[in-house]
Amino acid sequence: MINTLGIVSYDDFVEIPGLTDTRPVPSISFMGRYRLIDFVLSNMTNSGISNIQIYLKNKPRSVIEHVGTGRHYNINSKSGKLRILTGEVNAQAEVYHHDVSAYMANMQYIEDAHQEYVVIAPSYMIYKFDFNEALLAHKENKADVTVLYKTVDNADTSFARIDTLTIDKPRRVVAIDKNQGKFKNRHISLSSYIMSKEVFIHLVYLAHETSSLYTLRDILKDQLPLMNVMAYPVKGYVASINTMPEYYKVSMELTDYEMAKELFNPQWPIHTRTNDSAPTQYATEADVSGSVIANHCQIAGTVKHSVIGRDVVIGKGAVIEDSVILANVEVAENAVLKHVVVDKFARIVHKNELVGTPDRIIYVKRKDVI
C-alpha cells in the first residue's frame, strides 16, 4: 500500500463542548494513554502508508508535539513524510473553514505527492482496518470512490449526526444522509474514503467551484448519480467520538476487556507517543475493579468501572465510579465522583461530592480546581 497518500481530514464536524475548547479533535485523550488521532494514524502506517498529511484548523501545538516526525508510528523520516497542514489563516468567518478550503490552500502538497491513491479518514472514527483490503476491492470494482461503512443495530442511540449510506446491490452507494436516530439498523459511513489522487483533486476543485461552503462529503453526495461510489464493510469494533455522550459511552464500554480486545489486537498495534511514565502504584488501601488505568497513577482510593488517565493521584477514601478521568488530575481523599468526566490538570480538592447520572454527565474543565 505504499502507493497511497494518507489524509487525516478536518474534524470541523465534531463538537464536544469542553474537550474541544482547548484542543483540536485529534488530540482528545482516549482510553487512558491514547489520543484519538493514534487510531487513524496506526491504521494508515500499519497498512504501509508512509506519506501522511494531517489537516488542522487551529491550535496545532498539541498535535505537533504528539505526532512529532511520526517515528513512533513507524514512518521512515527519510523515505516517508508526516505533514501537519493548516487551512487559510485569513480572518474570514468560521463557516468558510472546512476540509475543502484546507485542501485548496495546500493543493501544491497534494499534487506534489507521487502516490497514485488517497485514503481520507477522520480522527474521530475509532476502528481498526487494513486499507489494503479496501484498495484491492476499489481496484477490482473499478470504483471512482470507495466509502468504508459498518452496519449497526444501534443507530437510534449511537452515531448521532454521522452519515448513513443507502447501498444498492452490489454495494453501490446511492444515498448519503445524516443519521437522525430514527432507526436501529443503518449502514454507518466511517467518513473514510479511498480514491485515486486524480479523482480526489477533481472532487476538491468541483466542491470549491460549486460553493465556498461545500465540503468533500457534500460534493460526493451530489456526485452519487454520476460516479461509481462503492461501499466497503469494516469488521470489528467501530465507534464515533463526535459528542460528549458518545465519548463517555464508548469509554465506558471499552473498560470491558472482551470488547476492547477487538480494537487492541497485538497484530495491529495502536501506536502512540510515550510519556516515559512509571507503572501505576496501588496503595494497600486501594480497591480497583472494572477499570482501565493508565501508567504513572498513584491510587489509594476506590475506582470502579472507570477510565483513569496518566499521572492521576487518587487519595485514600476517595471513590470514583462510572467516570472518565483524564491525565494529571488530582482527586483528594474522601472525594466521591460518579458519572463525571474530569479534564486534564483539574484538581478535586474542595468539594466532596460530584455525582452525575448516566444521562447527565458532569464535566470538569481543564485546570479547574473544585
Binding site: M31, A278, P279, Y282, I293, D311
Partner: protein, 376 residues
C-alpha cells in the same frame, strides 16, 4: 556543541551468573527491573538527564539483545545530532583480537573512541546499578576541587563496610587511602564504582597499566591505587539516595519490592528525573470486574482479573479470575492462569503458571521460576 565536555563509558560486560537463568539469554544490564525498565535504563537515563551527549557501552558477554537495545538511542533522547550511544564490544584490530581483560582494559581498548570526542573528563559507570544521580553535580564537585579523579561514595553502615571498597578521606573529602573490602574499615564511605577522570591523566595511566604484566587491569585494584600512589588528587563525592547492586535473585526481588515499601527513596514518579525505557505498544492496564489489587506496582498492558497484593507486575502480565499473586515479581508476559496461587516468586519473562497450580513458599529464599508450570 556538547553541553559539557564529558564522555560517559558504561561497563556493561557482566555475565551476572548469580542471576542464573535470567542471564542465559541476556547480559545482566538488560535484566528487567521495576515493572517496565531494564537495569541499564538507570545509568542511561541519568546520563540523558545530566546533559551528557555521548555514551559508550562496553559489552562483552552474549550481548545481541543488550546491543540492540541500547542502540535505540532515541529511547533516552541521545539521538540528537552530536549525541549517541555507541556499543563497544571487543574487536579485531591489526594487532589481533582480545576480549576485555578487566574494567580498565575495556577502556584501554577504546582509547581511540574516546580520543575521537576529545573530552576533558571521562565518566566511568557500571551498567548494573539501580539509582538516580545527577552526574553534572558530581562534575561540578570534580571541577571545583580541581581533582584528577572523583569517586562517588555512599555512606554504608560501618558493620557492612568490609563488603565494599572503602575510601578514607581527609576533612575536605580528598581521598587519602583506598582499601578493598577491609577487615577493619576506617571509614564508612563505600565506592559506588562511579568515577570521573581527567581524561589526559587516565589515558596515561591506562597506557602504563596495559604494559604491566602484574596488573589485573581493573579500576579498583590497579588504576585507583596507582593514582593514589602517584600523588594525584582523588576526591570523594558523597551521594545520598537509593543505590543498589542487583546481583542476586534475592536482591533483584528485594529492590523491586523497594518500589512498594521504600518508594520515598526510589521514587519513579518524579517527573523531574524520569527513567526512560522502551515503550511497548500495548493499551493501558485492564483491572477486571473480579480483580482485587492492593499494594502493587503494575505496568501498562497487564490484564488483571484476580487478586494481586505486595507485587510488581511487568508489561503484559495476565492474572486470570480466581488467581492469587502475592509478594512476587512477575516479569513481562507472565500468565497466572485461573485459580493458580503464587507467592514469593520471581519469574522469567513469558512464563505461564498453569490452572490451579500453587508455586512458592510463605518464607525462605525467593523462588526463580524460569520454566512454565503446567496446569490441571
Amino acid at each position: 556543541m556538547r553541553q559539557n565536555n564529558m564522555v560517559a563509558m558504561i561497563l556493561a560486560g557482566g555475565r551476572g551468573s548469580r542471576l542464573y537463568d535470567l542471564t542465559n539469554k541476556v547480559a545482566k544490564p538488560a535484566v528487567y527491573f521495576g515493572g517496565k525498565y531494564r537495569i541499564i535504563d538507570f545509568p542511561l537515563s541519568n546520563c540523558a538527564n545530566s546533559g551528557i551527549d555521548v555514551v559508550g557501552v562496553l559489552t562483552q558477554y552474549e550481548s545481541v539483545l543488550l546491543n540492540s537495545y541500547v542502540a535505540k538511542a532515541s529511547l533516552w533522547g541521545l539521538d540528537a545530532k552530536d549525541s549517541g550511544i555507541y556499543v563497544l564490544p571487543p574487536r579485531e584490530k591489526i594487532e589481533g583480537f582480545g576480549l576485555y581483560r578487566g574494567t580498565a582494559d575495556a577502556i584501554t581498548q577504546n582509547i581511540d573512541f574516546i580520543d575521537y570526542y576529545d573530552p576533558e573528563t571521562v565518566l566511568i559507570l557500571s551498567g548494573d546499578h539501580i539509582y538516580k544521580m545527577d552526574y553534572s553535580k558530581m562534575l561540578d564537585c570534580h571541577n571545583d576541587n580541581k581533582a584528577d579523579a572523583t569517586i562517588a561514595v555512599l555512606e554504608v553502615p560501618l558493620k557492612e563496610a568490609s563488603r565494599f571498597g572503602i575510601m578514607n578521606t581527609d576533612a575536605t573529602d580528598r581521598i587519602v587511602e583506598f582499601e578493598e573490602k577491609p577487615k577493619q574499615p576506617k571509614s564508612n564511605l563505600a565506592s559506588m564504582g562511579i568515577y570521573i577522570f581527567d581524561w589526559k591523566k587516565l589515558r596515561k595511566a591506562l597506557l602504563d597499566d596495559v604494559k604491566n604484566p602484574d596488573s589485573n587491569h581493573d579500576f579498583g585494584k590497579d588504576i585507583i591505587p596507582g593514582f593514589l600512589n602517584g600523588g594525584l588528587h582523588l576526591q570523594a563525592y558523597r551521594f545520598k539516595g537509593y543505590w543498589k547492586d542487583v546481583g542476586t535473585i534475592d536482591s533483584l526481588w528485594e529492590s523491586n519490592m523497594d518500589l512498594l515499601y521504600r518508594s520515598e527513596e526510589l521514587n519513579l514518579h518524579d517527573s523531574a528525573w524520569k527513567i526512560y525505557t522502551e515503550d511497548v505498544t500495548v493499551p493501558a492496564q485492564f483491572i477486571g470486574p473480579k480483580a482485587h489489587v492492593s499494594n502493587a506496582y503494575i505496568n501498562q498492558g497487564c490484564v488483571v482479573n484476580g487478586t494481586v497484593k505486595n507485587s510488581v507486575l511487568f508489561t503484559g502480565v495476565v492474572v486470570e479470575e480466581g488467581a492469587e499473586v502475592s509478594d512476587s515479581v512477575l516479569m513481562p508476559y507472565t500468565v497466572v492462569k485461573a485459580g493458580a496461587k503464587v507467592q514469593r516468586i520471581l519469574t522469567d519473562d513469558h512464563i505461564t503458571i498453569g490452572v490451579n497450580q500453587t508455586v512458592g513458599q510463605p518464607d525462605g529464599e525467593i523462588l526463580l521460576v524460569a520454566k512454565n508450570v503446567k496446569g490441571d
